[in-house]
């Protein structure tokens, strides 16, 4: 089913259209949240889809625009969650889920859980930029709009984030031109 047809049916409340949208983007949304807060990833993803359903009738755009709109909602939900945790810091103390996820760093980094565990070791803005750029597959302009930053800043964040990930993998990372990036101790 084409995206436009899927979106048109989803606007009418058709379950097939909604299921198509959900199956196409739910893994991306879930990975995005798992790269930040794995313990509440599913809850946040559910809240995002409820917001999508509420605003679906007013959405106008292409598939790329829908993806950008979807992760804009996800970014706002993430910011709200961080603010809520700042107001109630006792809720995030000794979270067993996050501890277990952080222990996945020693596992295979090529697995999804290992990769997400490494991303959680990044600074928040670098992780956000990498996730939006890699997982959501958004272009730099869309990421800059979501993060309220300039495109150059987003590029720097993505570069530093990937560099840090390569360091965490404890293997030298080579660039496309053949030059070898130094291992950062």
């Amino acid at each position: 089913m084409e995206f436009d047809e899927c979106l048109r049916r989803a606007r009418r409340g058709d379950t097939d259209g909604l299921a198509q949208l959900w199956r196409r983007y739910q893994p991306l949304v879930l990975r995005y949240f798992r790269g930040h807060l794995p313990n509440v990833a599913e809850d946040l993803a559910s809240a995002v889809w409820v917001d999508v359903a509420r605003g679906l009738a007013s959405f106008q755009g292409t598939e790329d625009g829908f993806r950008g709109w979807l992760f804009t909602i996800a970014h706002h939900r993430l910011v709200d969650e961080h603010r809520r945790r700042e107001r109630r810091p006792e809720l995030v103390v000794a979270d067993p889920v996050e501890i277990a996820c952080d222990n996945d760093i020693g596992a295979d980094v090529t697995s999804l859980d290992g990769a997400l565990a490494l991303i959680r070791r990044l600074p928040a803005d670098q992780a956000e930029a990498v996730l939006l750029r890699v997982v959501a597959d958004l272009d730099v302009g869309a990421v800059a709009e979501i993060m309220q930053r300039r495109e150059g800043s987003v590029r720097v964040l993505v570069h530093r984030g990937l560099e840090k990930l390569a360091t965490l993998c404890e293997k030298p990372v080579t660039t496309g031109s053949g030059s070898t990036m130094k291992k950062v101790s």
């Binding site: 299921a19 889809w49 409820v50 990930l165 080579t174």
Partner: protein
């Protein structure tokens, strides 16, 4: 600028893992999520309308309640302020005191010329004929309750019995307490030295004769005629001239007539 890593690098494997296909765990709960979305889409417009109408209705009800309560509060406060001005006790007090005044006036008329002068003073305030007639006949006609109470107390000649009889015979109402208290304040029945027969005779004669004569005379002339008539009454009754002194006309007269 960010340059893509070599395909075989660990970072490439990491990015490939992030872009991998969806797992079954990630797609679990599809039915619930889709149902929630469909319900949200179907319920969102109607729910919005209901919320607006409910909020509007609540606002109307709240404003109405505030208005009613405010008006009721102002009305209650206004009544509380104006009650002392319209208090019925204030209005009834002159009414209850008026018969006492008339009683005392008739008593004075029966006693002496000085008392009759007071009657003339009160009569001079308004129309002579009506006031004098009213003053002299009030005991029998105008204030029936007070006159009956007066007759009873005079007949018994005992102050306590008089007051109790007044209390029993006065009909319950706003004037009941005032009438009884007035009877209690009066000197009726306190004169125990005089005989009951003389009291009764003098009272009956004085009230009856004075009423008739004074009414007739005042319609013709003035207060002087009534004075003359009243002056002639003791000679008729025979007991009035002996039992009363000019020095204390009021108390003695009230003791007889009540």
């Amino acid at each position: 600028m960010t340059q893509p890593p070599t395909p075989n690098s660990p970072l490439d494997g990491l990015l490939s893992a992030l872009r991998s296909a969806a797992t079954t765990d990630e797609l679990s709960g599809e039915a619930t999520a889709v149902q929630a979305m469909a319900f949200e889409i179907a319920d969102s417009p109607r729910g919005t309308f209901v919320m607006k109408s409910t909020a509007r209705a609540r606002r109307i009800v709240s404003m109405t309640a505030i208005g009613v309560l405010g008006f009721a509060g102002v009305a209650a406060a206004g009544r509380g302020v104006f009650v002392p001005d319209n208090r019925p006790t204030i209005d009834t007090t002159p009414e209850t005191t008026a018969p006492v005044d008339t009683v005392s006036e008739t008593t004075m008329v029966d006693d002496s010329a000085a008392d009759t002068t007071m009657v003339n003073d009160t009569a001079a305030d308004t129309t002579m004929v009506e006031d004098i007639a009213a003053d002299t006949t009030l005991v029998d006609v105008s204030t029936s309750i007070d006159s009956e109470a007066t007759e009873v107390e005079c007949a018994e000649g005992n102050h306590g019995k008089t007051v109790s009889s007044v209390a029993r015979e006065t009909e319950p109402g706003p004037d009941h307490g005032a009438t009884v208290s007035e009877a209690a304040r009066s000197d009726c029945g306190k004169d125990s030295t005089e005989s009951d027969d003389s009291t009764e005779n003098s009272t009956e004669d004085s009230t009856a004769d004075s009423t008739e004569d004074s009414t007739e005379d005042t319609t013709e002339d003035s207060t002087e005629d009534t004075t003359e008539d009243h002056d002639s009454k003791p000679s008729d009754s025979g007991s009035r001239g002996n039992g009363h002194k000019p020095s204390d006309p009021g108390s003695q007269g009230r003791g007889k007539d009540g």
